[in-house]
């Protein structure tokens, strides 16, 4: 808990410095959250270059708007996450650049051996398909809490929920995913 408070204070102080034009503060915020934001975007965008472009746009927009940012005691990553979500919504709205899911999965397994690649690709495609059939909020909690391994506290901040509600949502989402996977197997059998 003390570490969390320190982290929040540190973000708040960095934002104050960034608002005063301190480039180092921008750099620290970027280094601190680039990994989480890129990985979140990458969860939702299979093409690496598109994910990189969107990630860069997230930070660019956020930094350019830092003067309007209002500190609410949350991590700056929660704000970056909202910007990322908005950019992803815009991106999907445009509806271009569609790739078949088989090709999409292929991009994720280029380092696997051929046999392993096939198995990995099939399992990934099946699981991703099951995940995609879940309600959006279930998908989202699985992305941030399971795939990105955010803490419950940070996941709650990102999703604007209490920690208790986040736990409930996670439990329900994983149960629903398990059910979808089982039904997918039965349908394929």
């Amino acid at each position: 808990m003390i570490e969390d408070v320190k982290l929040k204070l540190a973000d708040a102080q960095l934002i104050k410095r960034a608002k005063r034009g301190d480039h180092q503060a921008f750099g620290v915020l970027y280094e601190r959250y680039i990994d989480a934001i890129f990985r979140y975007v990458r969860c939702r965008v299979v093409d690496i270059q598109t994910a990189e472009d969107i990630t860069e746009a997230v930070f660019l927009r956020s930094f350019e708007a830092i003067g309007k940012y209002r500190e609410k005691g949350l991590r700056y990553s929660a704000y970056l996450y909202q910007v990322a979500r908005n950019l992803l919504i815009d991106h999907y709205r445009r509806g271009d650049d569609i790739v078949p899911i088989e090709n999409a999965e292929h991009q994720l397994v280029s380092s696997q051996s051929t046999d392993g690649e096939i198995i990995f690709r099939e399992q990934s495609a099946s699981l991703r398909s099951a995940l995609d059939r879940l309600p959006e909020e279930y998908q989202e909690i699985i992305r941030v809490r399971v795939l990105l391994e955010l803490s419950t506290t940070e996941a709650a901040e990102w999703m604007k929920r209490s920690e208790g509600a986040t736990r409930v949502l996670l439990h329900r989402a994983l149960k629903a995913l398990k059910r979808e996977v089982e039904e997918g197997h039965e349908a394929g059998a």
Binding site: Q24, D35, E52, D97, F120, L147, E149
Partner: protein
């Protein structure tokens, strides 16, 4: 009961993610709930192993950082703020008073502290005094030439600190010195450079100093362990980019969209200004899976 299971799933998942527990040890610790939480935790582990994305490419992280810093400065807002920040101390009465008080303190018992702080390193208790005294020197400088000379000197000081930290094996504090170097280089890029190339703060002078800095950083790079190399490489890239900026300012070119390791982009053939990411323009259209 339901809340208890929610909490248990969350706690087990956290412990597994932190490497404190395995799935099996969690189930052994809660045998009464193993039948219910076991499948849930297995699907979570399965999802993570199959779908968890890798982190960003290091070269993307570095290039984007540089582009973002340039873009933020280019936006004018931050650039203006940076300049105002540099001058504010002498323009605003409140800051002038603080500066005066600091000068009085420094002339009194504070002189010894400031002198003692001159040899301090990032992580030392007096390091803040050292940085504050540098800011005061900038505040009482009255010309861009002096600003440039001071900033180049401070950049050199950050390098000396980096070398000393490496010699002392204090790699945890290295990042702070290198971040300070980056900030100082950014500040140099915002200056109005003197026209007289014979002046100490001239572009030629700064360019020569930066090239010397890069060779120092390369020397430091050879001495540090693997886990500290990334920070040094970033500093080298930053210094190299600053040198390119200086060269381009000298040739009246506009440097802000050129990131380290990248070709200067051709505005006439790119639909996304400011995004010179060095990618192959001839590659096929990007594709992706719909979410």
């Amino acid at each position: 009961m339901k809340q208890e299971l929610d909490l248990l799933v969350d706690q087990c998942l956290s412990a597994i993610q932190a490497g404190e527990e395995t799935l099996e040890s969690c189930l052994r610790a809660h045998p009464e709930h193993a039948g219910e939480i076991g499948p849930i935790l297995r699907i979570a582990a399965h999802s993570h192993s199959l779908l968890s994305p890798a982190g960003p490419r290091p070269e993307f992280v570095r290039a984007t950082r540089t582009r973002l810093m340039n873009a933020v400065m280019e936006s004018g807002d931050i650039r203006q703020k940076a300049r105002v920040g540099l001058r504010r101390v002498r323009l605003q009465p409140g800051y002038a008073l603080v500066t005066l008080l600091l000068v009085i303190v420094l002339l009194g018992s504070g002189v010894g502290v400031v002198r003692a702080s001159a040899d301090s390193l990032p992580g030392d208790s007096l390091y803040g005094v050292k940085l504050a005294s540098e800011q005061i020197q900038l505040a009482v400088s009255f010309s861009p030439e002096t600003d440039a000379e001071l900033l180049v000197g401070f950049a050199g000081e950050r390098l000396v600190e980096a070398e000393q930290l490496v010699n002392l094996g204090r790699y945890d504090d290295l990042e702070q010195a290198l971040l300070g170097l980056g900030t100082t280089l950014d500040a140099i890029a915002t200056l109005d450079f003197p026209g007289d190339e014979s002046e100490p703060g001239s572009l030629t002078h700064i360019e020569a100093k930066l090239e010397k800095h890069i060779s120092v950083l390369n020397r430091v790079l050879e001495q540090v362990p693997e886990n500290a190399k990334a920070a040094i490489e970033r500093a080298i890239e930053h210094s190299t980019h600053s040198t390119e900026v200086i060269k381009k300012v000298k040739s009246d070119d506009h440097p802000s969209n050129t990131a380290p390791g990248q070709l200067k982009k051709d505005d006439s053939s790119d639909d996304h200004p400011g995004r010179g990411n060095g990618r192959d323009k001839d590659k096929p259209e990007k594709t992706e899976k719909p979410k």
